[in-house]
C-alpha cells in the first residue's frame, strides 16, 4: 500500500492511497457548519461522496458511499461535535476492477478516509482498516488483495473492515467487525477462513497505517521539539 497525506491545499485533510492497481484520493473538510437538513442535534453529521474514475455517479457509487459510511460512523467520536458536519470526498483515480465489483475500491477508500480524517484532525475513537479477499474458482485458494485479472478468476469476493486499536500495553486490539460484504457463492467454512485471513491482513494494514501516521506526526510537529 502506497500512501501520501496532505496533498490538497483547500481542504482540511487529504490523502492518496493506492493498492494493487486501485488508487483513490480522499479529502476531508470539517467539522464545520452544516446545512440545516444535514444537522444532527446531538452528533456530528457525515457526508460521504464517492466519485468514479470514469462516468458519472450511479447506484454503484451510492452503495459504496453507504458501505463506507457504515464503517466510518462507529469509528468517529461523533458526540464531540454536535450540530456539526464533516464532508468526506473520495475520488477514484484508478478503479483497478470492472464495474461489476466494488470490493477493491471500498477497501482502499476506507484506508484513504482514515488517513485523511487523521490529517484533518477529526477525533476518532479507534482506527479501522479494510481489505478485500477473493476465493478462486479453481483450487479454492484465498487471494488477499487480488489484481484485476485475479478478481476475474474468483468465485466469490469479500470486503472486510475491522475496528482496531492499541491498548495500554501496546498490544493490538481487534475491537469490532465493521463491514463484511460478500459477492458470489461460498460456504460457511470458506467464510471463516476469509475472516481469519482478513483479520491478519487488516492488522498488517493497521500497523502500516499507524507507522505512516507516526511519521506524519513527527514531520508535522517538528516545531515542537
Amino acid at each position: 500500500m502506497e500512501t501520501t497525506t496532505h496533498v490538497l491545499g483547500h481542504v482540511d485533510g487529504s490523502s492518496v492511497v493506492s493498492n494493487s492497481g486501485t488508487k483513490v484520493i480522499c479529502s476531508v473538510s470539517g467539522p464545520m457548519e452544516p446545512k440545516s437538513r444535514q444537522e444532527l442535534p446531538t452528533q456530528l453529521a457525515l457526508e460521504i461522496i464517492v466519485k468514479p474514475a470514469e462516468g458519472v455517479q450511479s447506484t454503484r457509487e451510492k452503495l459504496m458511499e453507504d458501505q463506507i459510511r457504515s464503517v466510518l460512523t462507529p469509528v468517529l467520536a461523533r458526540y464531540l461535535h454536535p450540530r456539526q458536519f464533516v464532508q468526506i470526498c473520495l475520488q477514484v483515480l484508478e478503479a483497478g476492477e470492472s464495474r461489476d465489483y466494488t470490493v477493491k475500491e471500498v477497501s482502499v477508500c476506507v484506508n484513504a478516509a482514515v488517513l485523511a480524517l487523521v490529517d484533518a484532525g477529526v477525533p476518532l475513537l479507534s482506527m479501522c482498516s479494510g481489505t478485500c479477499i477473493g476465493i478462486t474458482t479453481e483450487g479454492k485458494q484465498l487471494v488477499v488483495n487480488p489484481t484485476e485479472s485475479q478478481l476475474a478468476k474468483c468465485e466469490s469476493v469479500h470486503v472486510y473492515c475491522l475496528e482496531l486499536g492499541t491498548n495500554e500495553n501496546g498490544d493490538i486490539d481487534v475491537r469490532n467487525l465493521l463491514l463484511l460484504d460478500s459477492l458470489g457463492s461460498f460456504d460457511e467454512s470458506q467464510l471463516f477462513k476469509v475472516l481469519e485471513t482478513g483479520e491478519k491482513e487488516c492488522i498488517r494494514l493497521y500497523t502500516e497505517l499507524r507507522s505512516v501516521i507516526k511519521d506524519k506526526v513527527a514531520k508535522d510537529f517538528v516545531w515542537r521539539q
Partner: protein
C-alpha cells in the same frame, strides 16, 4: 455545502496595492504562466495536470454506442466536468448549476469539442449503427485559480495519450481486440487548443476606465484563486500552435480596447507554443517508456535505401 470564499479587506487591499507595484503574491510577473506539470498514469488517457496549487485529473474512456441518426458518420464525444467539494468549499456536490461551474464546462466544451480538436469521424465503426463513444471525465482535485486553462491542458494531453482498442469489421460483425492482444490505436487529434486566461484589474475607478485616456488597467496572465476573486474582468483566449484563434470569451467585466485584445493574443501565443510542445514531449516520453522492448520484439529487417 457551498460557501463563498471570503477575502478580508486588508488582504484584498494588499494584493491590489502589490499588483500596482508589479508584484504578485507568488512572485510571478504579470505575463508569467505557472509551471505546468503533466503526469501520466498507468492507463491510457489518464492525466494529472498540476499548475501551482491547482490540480486537475482527466480520464478518457470509450465504449461502443450508436451514433446520432442525423450524423451517422460521426462518433460521440462527451466532456464531463463535475465539481466536488474536494477542490474547495465553493463547489457543491451534485450541483453544477453555479455560475462558475457552468462557465468552466462551457469553455472547455467550446475550446475542445466545438473547435473540432478531435476527429469524430475517426470514431465511426459502421456508419449509422456503431461508433465509439468517447468520454473525458475531468476531475477538479484542487482549485487555486486557472481551472479552465488546466482542464484544457489535461483533456488535450489525455486525448493525445489515449488509445482505443483495435476493431475488425466483417460485414455487420465487429470484433473488438483487447489491448493486450493487438496494439491499440491512437485518436485523431487535429489540433491542440490551449486556453490562456487574462485577468484585468482597474487601479482607478470605473469612470476612468471608460472615459479616461491613460488606460492604466492591469492585465495579468493565469490568476491564482485570490486574484480571481478580486479581478474586475476576465478574458479567455484559446489558440493553437498554427496561430489560429479558436475562441475568445469575455463575459462582461472591464471594457477593453481592441488593440489590447490583439496584444493579449500575441502574449498567449508564446505560452501556447510552450505548453503544446510540453504535452507532445510528455506523451512521447511515455510512449517510449511503454515500448521499451519494441526494438527487441520488432521483426523489421534493416533495409537498404
Amino acid at each position: 455545502m457551498a460557501k463563498d470564499i471570503e477575502i478580508s479587506n486588508a488582504e484584498s487591499k494588499f494584493i491590489l496595492e502589490a499588483l500596482k507595484l508589479k508584484q504578485r503574491l507568488d512572485g510571478r510577473s504579470y505575463d508569467q504562466f505557472r509551471d505546468v506539470k503533466i503526469e501520466i498514469g498507468e492507463a491510457y488517457g489518464d492525466v494529472t495536470v498540476t499548475m501551482g496549487n491547482t490540480k486537475v485529473h482527466c480520464r478518457i474512456s470509450c465504449e461502443i454506442a450508436q451514433p446520432y441518426e442525423d450524423r451517422p458518420f460521426e462518433g460521440l464525444f462527451h466532456i464531463s466536468t463535475e465539481t466536488t467539494p474536494m477542490a474547495g468549499a465553493q463547489f457543491e456536490n451534485g450541483n453544477n448549476t453555479g455560475e462558475e461551474e457552468v462557465l468552466i464546462s462551457r469553455m472547455i466544451e467550446k475550446a475542445v469539442r466545438r473547435s473540432g480538436a478531435l476527429d469524430v469521424e475517426g470514431l465511426c465503426i459502421i456508419a449509422g449503427s456503431k461508433c465509439w463513444s468517447l468520454r473525458a471525465d475531468v476531475h477538479f482535485l484542487d482549485c487555486d485559480g486557472g481551472l479552465i486553462d488546466a482542464s484544457c491542458i489535461a483533456v488535450m494531453a489525455g486525448l493525445l495519450h489515449f488509445k482505443k482498442p483495435d476493431v475488425t469489421v466483417l460485414g455487420e460483425r465487429v470484433t473488438v481486440h483487447p489491448i493486450d492482444e493487438r496494439e491499440p490505436v491512437s485518436l485523431g487529434v487535429l489540433h491542440v487548443p490551449i486556453c490562456v486566461t487574462f485577468s484585468f484589474f482597474n487601479p482607478d475607478d470605473t469612470e476612468e476606465n471608460i472615459k479616461g485616456e491613460d488606460n492604466a488597467e492591469i492585465s495579468i496572465i493565469d490568476a491564482s484563486l485570490k486574484e480571481e476573486l478580486l479581478r474586475d474582468g476576465v478574458l479567455t483566449v484559446t489558440l493553437n500552435k498554427n496561430r489560429e484563434v479558436v475562441q475568445i470569451s469575455k463575459a462582461g467585466g472591464l471594457p477593453m480596447e481592441a488593440l489590447s485584445l490583439i496584444d493579449c493574443c500575441h502574449k498567449a501565443y508564446g505560452i501556447v507554443e510552450k505548453i503544446t510542445d510540453q504535452i507532445h514531449r510528455v506523451v512521447k516520453q511515455d510512449t517510449i517508456a511503454r515500448n521499451q522492448y519494441a526494438h527487441i520484439l520488432s521483426s523489421e529487417n534493416a533495409r537498404e535505401t
